[in-house]
Symmetry: C2
Subunit: 270 residues, 2 copies
């Protein structure tokens, strides 16, 4: 129970586990201060950590100095290590009695393929613990000061991914996403920003609908841009948005004052 | 920078702030281990904390022994302290140079009225820091082992609230919510479970669509129930679901094995 938070136990393996178990841990959006206490404890006590490219390197500083950290390089659906090999490694390591952490950016159950990994592990007789994390959607909204729901502006919020197989279109319900009075958060949408703009406008969303783009959210190189929906594609290309980014589309995106937020944090941290 | 995590500084006020600032902090779903490091640091250094009824009491144990903790009792939209009075207090306390934390269940920007409080503070010249939290939706999904998105099952996830003014219906787009291949997460839906069932079925959602109900998610009295959509109302009344609960509706809700998840955590924590 949070022992890892009080002790400074940075080295030394704990006793092997009697049953094969994997912790599927949400690493949050990037900023290590947005890790949960349980995530920190799991990282600190891990013998081995399989980590995606989207996980910020500062987060791994919580690991034991003798922990085996394996980069499996998954990023935007491209795997440097194939999913089947990731599953195979997790199963073998867990069966060896090791404390295995599978560390995923954001929350493992929001576009993280956590459900697929959990199913593969369970099918192999490996129990899985899920440690939820702060989704990039929530963290980017906080960075921009943009509420995802707001009386009068948005009664609901929908998370979608615009990632699609090469050469295909994302399979999204554009008419439903184009309705007013809701917030749409797009993961992995930067590469297809002109398509998102075109499809939402064609489905009836107003061209002056506010959009916030949060690139590298909560990381040291975070950048926040604002554009009307009708200029989304031009904004992404004109500003050279290239890092992982979240798009927040809807009336709520008109809120927020990034400078005031930054001033507030600076004052509190001083 | 995480100084509060290393020191054990449970008493003693810090220097007053030079500018009026409030931290709007997501307290997560209930389990204190799901607090972020930044949330813990803000709670530890607060002079005064205004807290909603939905925030778990264990979380307040991180506060300084001499902190002024004010219960403002907001729960399901009913305020024991009116919103205007909450805003007035936050502004006055911040102007007095105190370290003020406004602690809200889950994430402040998902059905937390955080946007409204931030706007009121900013209008009064008080800067606001937003500390995102683990939304109850994500934590309940993790507890139940239910991924909110999953290849083949759900390309998107929508969060809605079923809360409505007394005697009125929630203003929701039922046809959009009734489409297959998506997950719908309903906040504050227990009281209107029969209505949700009826409206989604009328809009064409299949009666055998799986639903998971997570009552008191991540708290010591957490309860997880499974039902087909066509028996949602009967399940809620038959099982006497009365606490704060999240409904997860969609094909994804067929996943998960609560016993295996509990076994996994027990093994790791041992």
């Amino acid at each position: 129970m949070m022992s890892g938070m009080r002790a400074t136990e940075q080295t030394g393996a704990r006793a092997p586990l009697a049953r094969p178990v994997v912790s599927l841990v949400g690493a949050g959006p990037g900023d290590p201060e947005l890790l949960t206490l349980r995530a920190v404890e799991r990282i600190r006590s891990a013998d081995v950590i399989l980590v995606d490219r989207l996980v910020d390197a500062r987060i791994l500083s919580f690991a034991r100095s003798d922990a085996d950290i394996q980069q499996v390089g998954k990023s935007r659906g491209e795997h440097s290590v194939p999913q089947s090999e990731i599953n195979r490694r997790l199963i073998a390591l867990a069966r060896a009695g090791l404390r295995v952490v599978r560390l995923k950016g954001g929350d493992p159950f929001i576009f993280g393929r956590g459900g697929e990994e959990a199913a593969a592990l369970r099918a192999a007789g490996v129990d899985v613990e899920i440690v939820p994390g702060v989704s990039a959607a929530l963290a980017c909204a906080a960075s921009a000061g943009v509420p995802l729901t707001h009386r009068g502006d948005a009664q609901s919020v929908t998370f979608v991914t615009a990632h699609a197989a090469l050469g295909t279109e994302p399979d999204l319900d554009w008419p439903a996403l184009a309705r007013a009075n809701q917030t749409v958060v797009v993961f992995m949408g930067v590469g297809v920003a002109p398509l998102i703009e075109a499809r939402l406008l064609a489905a009836g969303r107003a061209g002056d609908t506010p959009v916030v783009i949060v690139e590298n959210g909560t990381r040291l190189n975070e950048r926040i841009l604002r554009t009307p929906l009708g200029a989304l594609g031009a904004c992404v290309s004109g500003e050279g948005v290239a890092g992982p980014a979240i798009l927040i589309i809807g009336e709520c995106a008109a809120h927020g004052d990034v400078l005031a937020l930054a001033n507030a944090r600076q004052e509190i941290d001083a």
